[in-house]
């Protein structure tokens, strides 16, 4: 394909033609073998942009299910006396209707709901849905690559995730119900099929689904790392990479190093369940019978699980941090404050995340002297986190800030990260943990700091890069209603939980208001939380409506770079085909944050440096 020079050639086209890097990409393809018919274009695609959209759609599907589950168990918690017979058509035998016609949620199924809510949101939505979507979409586009290092493995990554979802979804319909022993799957509850209904086939399918999920995370992560290190366009050195790419890169490293450990733990669990080994099981008494196992250690599983589990929370939050850094900088029209400090703090958080796992196990009988070590490293994470918060605030300080849905959600992210981070300082102390562990204080902490915050990062990313994905804009008015409602509503849900938690209300209890006199005075607060949760749930439905409506009927994108951003993804055509750029790959001449430099609003990365101009990326 020869590059034809149009009569009206833009500066961008001219620069890409003159300075761009010709990798002879278009000479090899006679027709596009990646996107030739409906099936290969939309389903078995190997194009990273389409795979990103597949991850996003699947993530939205799971987010809906996970959120709907939380509404059902919140109804139980807020209104334990209410009639739930109306849920019978949906939940079937999990609602028992008594003679008076009052429907009650089955307690066993309540545990299944909280377990599945955790598993689905943590892994399927905030790991695959967030990292899968934005790493796939942005890594090749922002570093100037035609596609991932291995498009085939990338497609496998999505399909392994899809299969994991199919297995997990299937487990919801078992007659014994899905797994119900908590999303952390601690043995012996998870290791003994006879321990509860959910520990039978439900747990087996949970392990199968999670193993497939590990495969997906590894294939994706290996690809992201290789692509970032190996496929950058000319001139894109590491210090010129946007914050998003740094965040996705470190996220992928965390995933590749920690998910295999979860897989090891699950394999041992599988052997204990089905082949009679005793890695985790010992001579405990089950139903009056002493179990025929010797000396296994259930704590061992906790070590293996949390060696993944703690990096996992950063696998969730780091992509959101990267997205927020980028969106804040673009909308503040200012360079990200302290770019290098931001990068080093991401690296520091990534490193520290591997040596703090036992702070999830303070109450498991861990040696208190070992706890000291983990307390210190846990509290040190506050330092890079504070650096990041300071830099986000400094980025928007004194700027001519553009308030749109994406930037509002980014500001909301910073707010949530501060509120949730502060309670992390409480929980990181092993002494305070004696009172607070397994209470609603923990629920409030991690929902704010990694649940809501990561969702806000995801929303910011969706609103910001929606035009890149679908060539149209989302509705701004609905977006702002979505933001303000969710912002206020999320605090309304989780702020009160700090108080109930400090008073000692335990998590995962089916019914605490009626059965425990000590917690009676929280009955109204619990109702309030449930009402807030329902309102927030419907606001997310509004988002989903806005999302799908905008795909087909949103305002059309007419210019390539609607937000005035400097990064390379906005140099591709509005309807970019496979290979992203129709001609040469643009080369990078400067760092990603030249906003307001030398009197110009912004200078994209492909514009060569002027004589005597300094580049920040060196």
């Amino acid at each position: 394909m020869t590059h034809t020079i149009n009569a009206v050639e833009t500066l961008e086209d001219q620069l890409t033609r003159e300075y761009g890097f010709n990798d002879h990409f278009h000479e090899h393809h006679h027709g596009d073998k990646f996107q030739s018919n409906f099936l290969t274009h939309y389903v078995f695609t190997m194009d990273h942009k389409m795979i990103a959209r597949q991850f996003l759609m699947t993530g939205i599907f799971w987010a809906f299910i996970g959120a709907a589950m939380s509404i059902i168990f919140r109804l139980q918690l807020g209104f334990p006396e209410a009639d739930m017979a109306w849920l019978k058509p949906l939940l079937g035998k999990w609602i028992t209707v008594n003679e008076a016609g009052i429907g009650r949620l089955d307690p066993e199924f309540y545990y299944a709901l909280v377990t599945m809510h955790g598993t689905i949101i943590v892994f399927f939505v905030l790991t695959a849905g967030l990292s899968g979507t934005f790493s796939n979409l942005l890594i090749p586009l922002q570093i100037g690559a035609r596609d991932m290092a291995s498009p085939l493995l990338n497609a496998f990554s999505y399909w392994a995730f899809f299969l994991a979802g199919v297995v997990m979804f299937f487990s919801l319909f078992l007659s014994t119900g899905p797994f119900s022993g908590g999303w952390t799957a601690y043995p012996p509850l998870s290791a003994l099929p006879q321990a509860s209904d959910g520990s039978a086939t439900g747990m087996t399918l949970w392990i199968v689904a999670m193993s497939l999920f590990v495969v997906s995370a590894l294939l994706g992560g290996i690809n992201y790392i290789t692509t970032v290190l190996n496929m950058r366009t000319k001139g894109m050195n590491l210090w010129r990479m946007p914050m998003t790419i740094w965040a996705f890169f470190v996220t992928a490293i965390l995933g590749v190093l920690s998910f295999p450990v979860l897989f090891s733990g699950l394999l041992l669990l599988m052997l204990d369940r089905s082949l009679g080994t005793s890695f985790y099981l010992n001579e405990i008494v089950v139903g009056g019978q002493v179990l025929d196992r010797v000396g296994g250690s259930p704590i061992l599983f906790q070590h293996l699980f949390w060696f993944l589990g703690h990096p996992e929370v950063y696998i969730i939050i780091l992509p959101a941090m990267g997205i927020v850094s980028e969106v804040l900088s673009v909308n503040a029209r200012k360079p990200i404050f302290g770019y290098r400090a931001m990068v080093f703090s991401i690296l520091a958080i990534g490193f520290l995340s591997f040596i703090v796992w036992a702070h999830h196990m303070f109450m498991s009988g861990l040696n208190p002297f070992i706890s000291n070590f983990f307390v210190v490293f846990t509290l040190i994470i506050a330092v890079p986190s504070a650096v990041k918060v300071f830099n986000w605030i400094s980025t928007i300080y004194g700027s001519n800030f553009r308030f749109n849905s994406a930037s509002l959600f980014s500001v909301g992210f910073v707010s949530m990260f501060i509120s949730g981070g502060l309670t992390g300082i409480f929980l990181g102390n092993s002494a305070i943990d004696i009172q607070l562990h397994d209470t609603y204080f923990v629920i409030a902490h991690f929902h704010i700091v990694m649940g809501i915050a990561a969702f806000f990062g995801m929303f910011a990313g969706v609103y910001h890069w929606f035009p890149k994905m679908f060539g149209r804009f989302m509705n701004e008015t609905l977006g702002k209603i979505h933001f303000w409602g969710t912002m206020i509503g999320a605090y309304a849900i989780f702020w009160p939980m700090h108080y109930t938690g400090m008073a000692g209300v335990p998590r995962r209890y089916y019914d605490m208001g009626a059965s425990f006199d000590a917690f009676k005075h929280f009955t109204d607060l619990n109702k309030f939380i449930t009402v807030a949760a329902i309102v927030v749930f419907f606001l997310q439905i509004l988002f989903i409506i806005n999302f799908f409506y905008s795909i087909f009927s949103g305002k059309k994108m007419t210019t390539k770079n609607p937000w005035g951003a400097t990064t390379l993804e906005w140099t591709t055509p509005i309807e970019a085909g496979h290979g992203n750029w129709p001609g040469n790959i643009p080369t990078v001449q400067r760092w990603a944050y030249d906003y307001g430099k030398g009197g110009e609003d912004f200078i994209p990365q492909y514009i060569p440096l002027k004589n005597g101009e300094n580049d920040h990326g060196h």
Binding site: E18, Y19, G20, F21, N22, A149, S150, L153, L218, G221, I222, N223, I225, T226, T227, L229, N230, M231, K234, G235, V256, L257, S258, F259, P260, V261, F263, S264, G265, L267, L268, L271, L275, G276, T277, S278, F279, N282, V294, G295, G296, S297, I299, L300, H303, L304, F307, T587, Q589, P608, L609
Partner: protein, 192 residues
């Protein structure tokens, strides 16, 4: 294109697939690190049967080291144009690889005969499990050796950069499972 003079670009010369393999090897290492750490944590919890590692485990080690040596010289012969030696040593590697898996199976039978069965105690369960997962990775390596042999015997001999590259991936993965086994056998010998 020649107008770019400002920056001196150093494009990385590692092939993306090779880097992909290395990162993948990194994650396999993490899996075995988890297994062996679990082994140590579990052992320190007590109730741990001690037994001697069967002799075949050590004999096996020699076999897999020898297979690495033959594959190394096969690759050298491939690059220097010695077609006969390249093919002969490739077959030798394949045979040694199969021998390793068979011997591994016999080593497990030796263990069972000693009374160190799969479920008697976590100490023996761990040895079966870890060496079993390693054997699965060797089988994966044998599958890549089969691909390399298909290339060797069905395609005309031509050491193009692309074929050298692909063969090198097989070689590196095979050396990795070899070194991994050395680590495991030393670990077992010291910690059982």
């Amino acid at each position: 294109m020649s107008t770019i003079t400002k920056t001196d670009y150093n494009r990385s010369k590692i092939h993306p697939l090779k880097l992909t393999l290395w990162v993948g090897i990194g994650s396999i290492i993490m899996m075995f690190a988890a297994f062996t750490s679990a082994f140590i944590v579990r052992r320190s919890a007590g109730n741990w049967y001690e037994f001697e590692l069967p002799s075949l485990f050590f004999f096996n080690t020699l076999v897999i080291i020898l297979s690495s040596v033959t594959l190394h010289y096969s690759f050298q012969a491939f690059k220097t144009g010695n077609e006969k030696r390249y093919k002969a040593l490739l077959i030798a590697t394949f045979v040694l690889g199969i021998a390793f898996v068979v011997l591994q199976y016999m080593a497990w039978e030796q263990m069972t005969a000693m009374g160190a069965t799969f479920t008697v105690n976590p100490s023996s369960s761990f040895v079966y499990l870890i060496s079993g997962v390693h054997a699965a990775h060797v089988l994966g390596g044998i599958a890549t050796l089969v691909t390399a042999m298909i290339h060797a015997f069905l395609l005309p001999y031509k050491p193009t950069p692309r074929r050298t590259q692909r063969f090198e991936l097989v070689v590196q993965y095979w050396h990795f499972v070899d070194v991994l086994w050395l680590y495991l056998v030393i670990f077992f010998a010291l910690n059982l």
